[in-house]
Amino acid sequence: MSVTDLSGGFSSPAADAARAFRQALNALARPGEIVEVSGISPPAPLGGAAAALLLTLVDHEVAIHLAGRFDQPAVREWLAFHTGTDFVPAEEADFAVGRWEELLPLSQFPAGTPEYPERSATLIVAMDSLTASGSRLSGPGIRSEAFLNLPDEKTLAANAARFPLGVDFFFTAGDQLAGLPRSTKIGD
């Protein structure tokens, strides 16, 4: 049995987590804006930004769903060590990580209730790259319009149409991330 490498977390946990959260807040409050979160070296296939989000937001009070090839021992052990979280099926997830296809269908994740819309999952989607082009975004956080290379406009528009229910997204590629809350209108 090989010894799992558990290094690569925040070097200065309180300050690093504060900075990572601030970037996440900026990204979700300004859908389409691409921000950088660096300084973390997680085991593959976790990227730096995805890992920083998880280390900033996840602990034993919430549970993660690892989708597809993200569900592997090195990732589990690294996240368990750094966050103390539980790993759960999609239906019980507070957070989920995976590539877009691995996370589908979105309907398997909690989407909140009319009285408690916040009881919903946040999905961290691993992408090859992020660019400010492609799907047109508008709504809260966006002055007039923004663009982001979304993987599937139709499915995401359907999620937005459920507002105030629905799931929220962080799209990540390496150390980059962009937010897409359920409040964002997608398309023209």
């Binding site: 504060a18 979700l28 996840v58 602990d59 009319p114 916040e118 956080g141 809350p181």
Partner: protein, 277 residues
Amino acid sequence: MSDYNFAYLDEQTKRMIRRALLKAIAVPGYQVPFASREMPMPYGWGTGGVQVTASTLVPEDVLKVIDQGADDTTNAVSIRRFFEVTAGVETTTEVPVATLIQTRHRVPETPLTEGQIIVYQVPIPEPLRFLEPRETETRKMHSLGEYGLMHVKLYEDIARHGEIATTYAYPARVSSGYVMDPSPIPKFDNPKLDHSPAIQLFGAGREQRIYALPPWTSVQSLDFEDHPFDPSRADGECALCGSKDSYLDEVITDDAGGRMFICSDTDYCARRSEGAA
């Protein structure tokens, strides 16, 4: 204070608050419940705002704290000092320099800019609370978008007084969705919330609620076609800087009832006075 973590709160608490903040951003105007902690200052004195600020601050921030528009009111001094000691952040009184502003009861006169965050201290986050004291009921009303009661109340004001008698904590509708309490700011400040370039976060510690407005979000004060919203202010000008547009405090100057008006926003007033000199 080395016994305490950066910005006082433990990391576990910050994570819980940060999760709530992101949900609040994702559902603008909706009040997200959070497990507010006991803070070393009393409930009702800004514990919600302090917890939101503590969870949002980064070491590089420049913090401004105001109460009633002023940097030097005792509670503003106390909260600013708390963060100077626990987070070691730089503080300022100048709006353009601040990256994060915590406020009670005012929005600065100087327009906020992109990249800034403003944190409001909120005593009663529920705009429907004085019409319906039960949380179980108001929660249902929000989920159904059932705001008729609020309109009835405002309309009764008009019938009785000829105008809407709510002058602060004036309810507003967010992105045509939830009705929110803008905190007890004078209604004069309500228009500043609408399509603000800044991120606006609201923390109610005792009531355990966080809500938020992303930048460029529509925030419309409730009104009627025949009685449009009127962000009134005292007629008069500031005795110090001469401003005719800012929100004014009335100061009693002698026993005979003499009074003068001065800007409630001390930073705005001071910089105008300096500029004029």
